[in-house]
Amino acid sequence: MRRVLEGLLTPLVSIIIAIIIGMMVMLATGHNPLQAYAALFSGAFGSTYNLSNTIASAIPLILSGLGVAVGFKAGQFNIGAEGQYWIGSMAAVWVGYSVKGLPPVLHIALAIVLATVAAGLWAGIIPGLAKALFGAHVVITTMMMSYIAIFLNKYMVENGPMMEKGFTPQSPVIQNSAMIPKLIERTQLSWGLFIALAAVLVVYWLLFKTTLGFRLRAVGSNTRGAKYAGINVPLYMVLALFISGTLAGLAGAVQMLGVQQRLYDSFTSGYGFTAIVVALLANNNPFGIILSALFFAALATGGQSMQLVSGVPAQLTDVISGIIIFLLAAKKIMPVIRKKWRKHLDLATERGAQ
């Protein structure tokens, strides 16, 4: 219990500091921070509709955040979740509109399986093998693959095989049988929520209750120790990236089948990058990811209404995300301060005793 509370302390303090910095930015730019934050809050949670949309946009964040966390746990900093998300989206949409005559559950399942495998391979084959065999920096390779995936997506809908005839570059709409039904009508919230929650449980189980998870975590903490433990280190590096990509791909699939229902021409979803922050804020804890995904989803949905109501550009929320990562990474500040304080006390008591 104490560990849980201590684990929550750093993220909460980071969030609070970041929000305060956001306030100062607003004050400096002549906005009313209370009004802006109130608008943000009500935009995120203020009504069933808003709350549903916040939860809905937390779904891809939970899934891709889990992906980044699995990579992290195995020592692989997969920052290419964005690209894996797009690969998953493309595969899911393609199965969604091109396969016909399947019963709904089966159609959805087929789309999801294909999307996850495609995204897993996208992350596992090139960045994974490049790391395992040649030691190539995962940060660079996953990011490069991300850009390639984004261009691939543009190609698909602009002049590739998934293009639908018409003026706007987009793919055909998926079949009804491939659509994940809505949980609450006229919102974006679908049954995908339960897929995300199930994924949390599965990832937790996988990481902490299975030998596979043991191996992944051992590789992540100490590659030499893992080798000594008889673990095939390169294999599990590849596997870690594969699983990581799988989850990011699942995020894309659930988003396509549950919300968008077709592929659009867009440069980034933003989910892949926010996923990194989500995982970091949760300290890679699968359950923590639910909370941190909700937090960032609230920032995103609330940010729009903040922009409308108070005129503060919604990207302020990205600034806040960046500051949070900064503070989280710098969490060593706190022990340093605490240690100095303790030393100070020790000296004082020693002097008192003499």
């Binding site: 730019t29 900093f77 920052i79 090139i126 490049a130 065999l133 040649f134 030691g135 190539a136 920096h137 940060v139 660079i140 390779t141 990011m143 490069m144 693959m145 850009y147 390639i148 261009f151 691939l152 543009k154 190609y155 602009e158 002049n159 590739g160 440069f267 980034t268 990058f273 990194i276 922050v277 970091l280 503060v312 550009p313 990207q315 302020l316 929320t317 990205d318 600034v319 806040i320 995300s321 960046g322 500051i323 990562i325 900064f326 989280l328 990474a329 710098a330 969490k331 060593k332 500040i333 340093v336």
Partner: protein, 309 residues
């Protein structure tokens, strides 16, 4: 057909032009990593340079002062990065990612805040192209080398100066020593932290100059996320160039060539531009796979220095 393309001086001019925003951050990364700090924040710092370059240029109506403003803000951002990574000893890769996300958000936020949703004004002053008399008249060489943007020449000078600094000055020796074995450097009386701050901040200034070039040299405006992964490609160029200035330039030219080639091929209209645009990114991965195993990074790269350990 292919040879015909290669014979175009425009292609080579574009290669040099497109290599510049890679070579500058790669050079910056070289400084940072030679001092022992892994810097994946180049992407974000380029954005900072690009945005504040335009902002300062608009405020002062001078592209030169804009350039200065961009570089100063890049240095400020690097200073914060250095504080967290060097003084506090936080995870350099994670903080670097934090800088990237922060910078992307901040620049877009400020773009909308300051310039509104219409983007930066078209009247923003522009960094001039330079015609070198004599050289620009030479056939082939002239169009390639003789009439580039001023930043291209600054970049070429910076490569030479960096090489001299790193390998032929006392300070450069100290900077490299700190990146190899900070404890040894410390016992030799060198202030490890100062050297790392120096490496990171010079690195940030060079990276932000790369950003300034994008906004004030190439495009004359700031677009959200306009660095589009160049910071990461520069990281690869630095590795490919074995953490040396000339090596970084060489790798940047290679990647710049692929960008130039993709721009050129887009003009021919045979292949989808989206496919062609993947080229530099794919080449980057290929370069990493083909070479990384054989190059050695500074021995203490990425490890925060804690004395008495």
């Amino acid at each position: 057909m292919f040879w015909h393309i290669l014979a175009q001086p425009e292609l080579w001019a574009a290669t040099l032009a497109m290599a510049t925003p890679l070579a500058l951050p790669a050079l910056g990364g070289t400084f940072s990593e030679r001092s022992g700090v892994v810097n994946i924040a180049m992407e974000g710092i380029m954005l900072i340079g690009a945005f504040f370059g335009v902002y300062a240029a608009c405020l002062t109506h001078s592209a030169w002062l804009g350039m200065l403003g961009g570089i100063i803000m890049g240095a400020v951002m690097s200073l914060i990065f250095a504080w967290v990574t060097v003084s506090i000893g936080a995870d350099q890769v994670v903080v670097g990612m934090g800088v990237n996300i922060f910078a992307a958000g901040l620049t877009t936020f400020l773009l909308n805040m300051i310039f509104g949703y219409g983007g930066t004004p078209t009247s923003t002053p522009h960094l001039p192209n330079i015609h070198i008399p004599g050289l620009s008249q030479v056939p082939f060489i002239g169009p390639v080398l003789g009439q580039q943007n001023v930043v291209v020449y600054i970049m070429l000078l910076a490569v030479i100066a960096s090489h001299y600094f790193l390998f032929h000055t006392n300070l450069g020796l100290r900077l490299r020593a700190v990146g190899e074995n900070p404890q040894a450097a410390d016992t030799a009386g060198i202030n490890v932290w100062n050297m790392r701050y120096l490496g990171v901040i010079i690195g940030g200034m060079l990276s932000s100059l790369g950003g300034v070039y994008l906004s004030l040299g190439l495009l004359n405006s700031f677009e959200p996320n306009m660095s589009s992964g160049r910071g990461y490609i520069a990281l690869a160029a630095m590795i490919f160039g074995k953490w040396t200035p000339f090596g970084s330039l060489g790798a940047a030219l290679l990647f710049g060539f692929s960008t130039a080639l993709s721009m050129y091929l887009q003009g021919t209209g045979n292949i989808s531009t989206n496919i062609i645009q993947m080229l530099p990114y794919a080449l980057t991965i290929l370069a990493l796979v083909g070479l990384v195993g054989r190059s050695t990074e500074p021995a203490a790269d990425g490890i925060p220095y804690e004395p008495n350990k």
